[in-house]
């Protein structure tokens, strides 16, 4: 009965043409995979949001809390081929360094860039600095005035080139390209000093670049000026000296370098310029402290500035001007020293008598070291806390500035009240990761991969243990847009998507916690 089949096929062709085809965005085909790189973490806690790196889509998801217990997200492209990301010391800004499209095939290919993302309750891209060459490393100024990118990954790399980015400026004028004179090494670690009171000159900040066998001083008040390179001394066994620690004293404009494997410390007082074209001069002074120091730091005393070197069970006090030494016996072989003067008294002057906290990875004793006029040689108040200390964590904010958290290698951590010199142990069943709230009111502890997490309020030292219904990868507290505080326990696994259990940070309870998942879909179109 079909008189002409070709006519039927004609109708079919019409039909197919009318319906047509369409394809979706490729983002739907990219499973969410948490970043697990060395230089890029899977997530970053900021003051008002949590940044979750969505590497498959080259973007960051900023999770924010409109009100306590609620979250939503906004996504920003991070640039092609993310090299590293860091959070500013005040946790207000996320810095993302991307390499861009390499090699570039067209003018539209994305260039390397350093992007700044506001981490408040209303995240936004603050600014972006376009770089000319892909860089791998990023160093941030704790005072948020500078960022330095270095360590290129192009075909030809100048390992001693630094790009100093003045964060107060925009565009190309913000960037200063600085090539350090090579002595065979390359930058390993960068330290930004506060303003140092250099004699005969205005106070100025310095960037200290530690390289394999020397350190380089860059005057940040005039970054295009010539740098000063200070070779490090060889060790006692004839090996090339490398810096293990840099400390500084602002009032006297003095730096000191602990040289790895050497019993000598290198004092570097910065003085008035010796030449007309110099902004400052350096008069290195090598001081043998009688043994290999585990740690060094400056301390102010009534008798003047002293460089304290922890050598065995002694504190060797060095007068950086005269290089005279005094030895103060200690109760243990301390391996760490942290000045806590400002934590005890925020109004203390820069030259006030200092108090230092001594701790050790090899001993269960902590001590408070004071070098003041009344005690002549100083005092050491020791406390056996029963466990060694791996690290000392500062508490941000003003409310509990006199508190420290002692991180231990065991299943416990200590809340330390510096004023009362009291420590409160917090015992756990497993090793925990600690995350201090941005406002410094409490600390969150969790075991990555486990379901348990807890908060400890600094005012009461009362721990509240919580148990999520899914494995926790990290915990962050953020400020909510309505002024409240939310704690986000993130759930992220390979190919599992992204979720979060959200609790009221001030009154945490799983009875009111809310569970969110599918967060990886935020912004996918």
């Amino acid at each position: 009965m079909i008189e002409n089949p070709t006519r039927i096929w004609g109708w079919a062709a019409c039909a197919l043409g009318l319906v047509g085809c369409g394809s979706r965005a490729s983002a739907w085909d990219a499973p969410f995979t948490p970043s697990a790189g060395v230089t890029v973490s899977s997530s970053y806690g900021l003051t008002g949001s949590v940044a979750v790196v969505d590497a498959p889509l080259g973007r960051v998801l900023m999770l924010r809390s409109p009100s306590a217990l609620s979250i939503d997200s906004v996504a920003f492209g991070l640039g092609h081929d993310l090299a590293t990301a860091q959070v500013s010391s005040d946790k207000k800004t996320l810095f993302a360094l991307s390499r861009g499209v390499q090699p570039q095939r067209s003018a539209s290919d994305e260039l390397p860039q350093l992007m700044l993302i506001d981490g408040s309750t209303a995240p936004s891209v603050l600014k972006s600095y376009v770089l000319t060459e892909p860089m791998d490393n990023l160093a941030l100024d704790p005072q948020n005035e500078w960022a330095v990118v270095y360590g290129g990954s192009g075909t030809v790399v100048n390992p001693n080139e630094l790009v100093l980015v003045d964060l107060s400026q925009d565009g190309d004028v913000a960037q200063t390209f600085k090539t350090l004179r090579s002595t065979g090494g390359k930058p390993k670690r960068l330290t930004f000093t506060p303003k140092l009171a250099v004699a005969g000159a205005d106070p100025r900040r310095f960037l200290v670049v530690e390289r394999d066998s020397d350190i380089v001083l860059i005057d940040l008040s005039n970054p295009v000026a010539n740098v000063v390179t200070v070779p490090l001394p060889v060790t006692e066994n004839g090996q090339t000296g490398t810096s293990a620690q840099i400390v500084y004293d602002a009032a006297s404009a003095t730096l000191a370098v602990r040289v790895a494997g050497s019993s000598s410390v290198y004092a570097l007082p910065l003085g008035a310029p010796a030449q007309p074209d110099e902004a400052f001069s350096v008069a290195p002074n090598l001081i043998d402290v009688g043994g290999i120091p585990a740690a060094i730091d400056f301390m102010h005393t009534a008798d003047g500035l002293r460089l304290v070197a922890l050598v065995g069970t002694n504190a060797v006090l060095v007068d950086p001007v005269t290089t005279n030494l005094k030895t103060k016996p200690l109760s243990a072989a301390f391996t760490g020293i942290r000045r806590i003067t400002a934590a005890l008294d925020a109004t203390a002057s820069a030259t006030a008598d200092d108090v230092a906290l001594l701790y050790s990875q090899n001993s269960t004793t902590i001590a408070f070291l004071t070098l003041d006029a009344s005690t002549s040689n100083g005092s050491v108040d020791s406390y056996d806390i029963g466990v060694s200390v791996k690290d000392v964590i500062d508490v941000p904010g003003d409310t509990f500035a006199d508190r420290k958290i002692l991180e231990t290698p065991a299943h416990q951590f200590y809340m330390l009240d510096l004023t009362k010199r009291q420590s409160a142990p917090m015992e756990t069943s497993t090793g925990l990761t600690l995350q201090v709230a941005p406002d410094g009111d409490r600390v969150w502890a969790y075991e990555p991969g486990g379901t348990g997490f807890a908060s400890v309020d600094f005012s009461t030292l009362h721990p509240i243990s919580l148990k999520a219904e899914r494995a926790v990868s990290s915990v962050y507290e953020i400020e909510a847009a309505d002024g409240g505080h939310s704690a986000l326990a993130l759930h992220a696994g390979n190919g599992q998507g992204l979720g979060a259990t959200v609790v009221d940070a001030v009154h945490p309870s799983t009875a009111t916690a809310r569970f969110y998942s599918g967060l990886e879909f935020g912004g996918v179109k």
């Binding site: 006519r7 319906v19 369409g22 739907w28 759930h491 998507g497 599918g518």
Partner: protein, 235 residues
């Protein structure tokens, strides 16, 4: 602009095809009789293009293929013109993945309304219809972290507007015959359906954590151009 040109060309081709069919059989004109079906039942396929962004979570392309079952009955006749009441039930499903999570969309569409028909010749008629439609959709997403399947279910009201042609491929030449006739039918048109929110939540009693919050994947509008090809039996 290019898309409009493409549709224009298709439209011209369709009209030309219909005209060719008409002219080749014009000599067959005779009394219509039972060529104007008293009742009719059809089985076919409806192919829709769903351009909604919300559809992307469930499919890698915009097509939605549905099985289509239709019934109709002529209620008025006047020369070559007739008016029928027709109704369709279209059902289709589309499954895929969204960032690695399994997804599925089930769509039922029930439309009913008047259809105007004009017989060019006894074995060929063209028609146009405007059918109010009800659609029920069930969107689901397998949520691995929640450990449950999330759902968004909606009823929505819309309408189908279509025109097409039916050609008799089996049946007696005489309109006096009351024996069954078999038709091949093709129609195209636009299905309007307002968007509904894709707010997916696990069902009560699932293994999802307590107070699992809804997941908002935007909105889904199941409207768009469609084609339906079917075979019908009439009496």
């Amino acid at each position: 602009m290019a898309r409009f040109q493409w549709f224009g060309a298709l439209k011209a081709a369709c009209i030309a095809g219909a005209a060719a069919l008409s002219f080749s059989t014009v000599a067959e004109a005779e009394p219509l009789g039972s060529h104007q079906p008293l009742v009719q039942a059809s089985l076919g396929v409806r192919a829709s293009k769903v351009p909604s962004k919300g559809y992307d979570a469930f499919a890698t392309s915009d097509e939605l293929i549905q099985v289509s079952i239709g019934v109709g009955a002529t209620v008025l006749k006047g020369g070559n013109f007739s008016l029928a009441g027709v109704g369709f039930w279209d059902y289709g499903t589309r499954s895929g993945t969204a960032r690695g999570d399994g997804t599925e969309l089930d769509v039922h569409r029930l439309s009913i309304g008047p259809e105007f028909r004009y017989h060019l010749i006894p074995t060929l008629f063209v028609f146009a219809n405007a059918l109010p439609a009800f659609a029920h959709s069930e969107a689901s997403l397998d949520d691995p972290i929640a450990g449950a399947t999330r759902y968004a279910r909606h009823w929505s009201f819309g309408a189908d507007f279509a025109a097409g042609a039916a050609y008799q491929v089996y049946g007696m030449r005489s309109g006096e015959s009351s024996k069954p006739r078999v038709w091949l039918m093709a129609e195209g048109g636009y299905g309007y359906q307002p968007s509904t929110r894709l707010v997916l939540s696990p069902d009560a009693g699932s293994d999802a954590p307590q107070r699992t919050q809804p997941l908002d994947l935007g909105s889904l509008a199941l409207g768009g151009p469609f084609l339906r090809a079917s075979a019908a039996v009439s009496f």
